[in-house]
């Protein structure tokens, strides 16, 4: 162990070629860990600890630390792993920078007065749906001039695996390595019981504003147990639900104060958003004020736009004062994840997690049921 020997200057640089290491005696499922080769040497110890932690919790890992020429090659790699007998690939974690595919997507609103909107967005569904077909219709032109942009998605559109990213931090190699090493240490601390937060649900809505006691109760009931509520998390007796309500004595800042105080392990924010902020929480705010929760779910638009090196969701994950281990947001302006025949994504996620599913399994349990108009 030399991490804290007293170094005046310098660090070893090891250049690695393509490396594939497998850890195969841990459980029945496998996680593919794809590592940007530029990062491998500087995160080796932390990454090995992370893989050991996954093994302890029952996941085999297969690490691949070579680059990919394009999204086709990366998807083919995942498909090959998925198809291997006995591999039982559950998901993939992409660490660093990888080629991106894009999709032309349409977000339809349940409110008829809000027209549907279409846009070209960075797609990780391209790597999650390994059996479906992504294609370009005749005459389709990528708005961004991107070679791997698709407007058609057909066939078996279910997701075979979940896909998560540990992205670059501020577009800077050394800062990314530092952030990843902090992340792996935090993850290890959580898994070994050193990082502990109360199992409480916190939801902050910047969309509601009650001006009467009746409105206060209406909004509170909606967040607690309405059709879009995160039941059974949200109707637990200790759930903390916040929106601006002078008559009810609630406010959004109270909710963000709770987030800083670490009163809940699971936090949902309902806000407007863009790459630089999720509602009142800006990049600067989460870089300087503690984000003390383990699961962070934001429904703000485009907060996870990885085309922006300084996007909000990445700062939530990597800030030096963050305790977040898993963050969900969108790369585009769709906000949430829609409804399916089992209900809203909030309820479906909470129900799956409450039954013991992992976050990735819960996502698949929602996505792989046909969506319906809310």
């Amino acid at each position: 162990m030399s991490a804290q020997r007293f170094i005046v200057a310098g660090a070893c640089l090891t250049l690695l070629a393509s490396v594939e290491a497998a850890n195969g005696a841990c459980g029945s499922h496998t996680v593919a860990i794809l590592v940007d080769p530029k990062l491998v040497a500087s995160i080796r110890a932390g990454l090995s600890q992370f893989e050991t932690d996954l093994c302890t919790d029952g996941y085999n890992t297969v690490e691949h630390s070579a680059g990919f020429a394009d999204p086709l090659a990366l998807r083919a790699h995942l498909k090959q792993l998925y198809d291997q007998p006995g591999r039982s690939l559950a998901g993939a974690i992409l660490i660093g920078a990888f080629p991106h595919a894009y999709q032309w997507v349409t977000a339809a609103s349940s409110n008829p007065s809000i027209p549907s909107t279409s846009e070209e967005a960075l797609s990780f569904q391209y790597y999650a749906d390994l059996n479906g077909t992504f294609a370009r219709s005749p005459g389709y032109v990528s708005q961004g001039g991107r070679p791997y942009s698709y407007d058609l998605h057909s066939g078996d559109v279910n997701w075979e695996i979940w896909v998560a990213v540990l992205p670059y931090y501020k577009g800077h190699l050394a800062q990314t390595a530092d952030a990843l090493n902090r992340y792996f240490a935090r993850n290890h601390a959580y898994r070994t019981g050193w990082l502990r937060l109360p199992q409480v649900f916190l939801q902050i809505s910047e969309h509601y504003r009650a001006t009467t006691r009746a409105e206060h109760q209406l909004y509170l009931d909606a967040m607690r147990s309405g059709p879009y509520a995160w039941t059974p998390f949200s109707n637990a007796p200790d759930a903390r639900l916040y929106f601006d309500s002078p008559p009810g004595g609630l406010s959004v800042p109270q909710g963000y104060a709770d987030l800083q105080a670490g009163v809940a392990d699971f936090t949902v924010t309902d806000t407007h958003g863009y790459w630089g902020a999720g509602g009142q929480l800006t990049i600067a705010a989460v870089e300087t004020n503690p984000v003390r929760t383990i699961f962070f779910w934001s429904n703000g638009c485009a907060i996870g736009d990885l085309d922006r090196p300084d996007n909000f969701l990445t700062s939530v994950l990597y800030s030096r004062v963050s305790e977040v281990l898993i963050a969900k947001g969108t790369t585009n302006n769709s906000g949430g994840m829609g409804n399916n025949s089992n209900g809203s994504f909030g309820h479906n996620m909470a129900a799956a997690l409450a039954s013991g599913a992992s976050f990735g399994q819960a996502i698949l349990s929602h996505v792989n049921v046909p969506l319906i108009v809310p």
């Binding site: 030399s2 020997r5 992370f50 990780f124 990213v165 990082l195 199992q199």
Partner: protein, 255 residues
Amino acid sequence: MILGDPTLPRKTQRVPAAPKIDKVVHGVDFQEGIVPGSWMTIFGSSLAGIPRAWTERDFQGDRLPTTLDGVRVNVNGKPAYVYYVSPGQANVLAPDDSATGAVKVELVNAAGRAEGTATLARFHPAFFSYEPEGGRYVIAFSADWAYLARPGLLPNVTTRAARPRETVILYGSGFGPADPALPAGLMVAAARPLANPVTVSIGGLMAPPVWSGQVGSGLYQIMVTVPELPAGDHSVVAEIGGARSAAARMLTIQP
């Protein structure tokens, strides 16, 4: 999209395992023998949660912290000063003590306590070394603060070999008390000379002393003149109070 680790369930969290000490060693050469007022290292498991070094917020005035994230260490029953904690390693400054020989080292954290033993010595000099090549080369500076080491040793840092007859500045720990003594638990506001004479040899030849003293908590600065030696790597050895540093630390010299 998902950032982070989706294998996580929202489950009942584990209780941290109790700490365990594997060994307690000198903080610079990781060999047996710790010295009051100098750096020591504890290796083990479940020593702490998230790795962290002390920051300004951990100090009370000029007093060094004895607790970091709930981790505290006692050496021979006296509180040590905790600089860095992690699951597998803790770096602490040994408290002042007149005892020598085997002593009990205790680490306490939120999950429990662990005991180990260490050998307390009056002196155990050791030089800090650059990280590459297993710490083969001592950290050395010229009088105008150029990095002295084998050229190319450090990526993105210009280094050069030391020259015979020039003054070099070395750093270490375990050189014993200063004169007048500096309490281990207080920040070092001003450098003070060593209370005991130190000799340094380079390549087996005596290196004439220029100045030797304590310049920080557990940190000693040794300034010597490089003797006439041929080109190559030469071992640097310090001796104080009858204790010698390991001969495995090198300085590259080019006349």
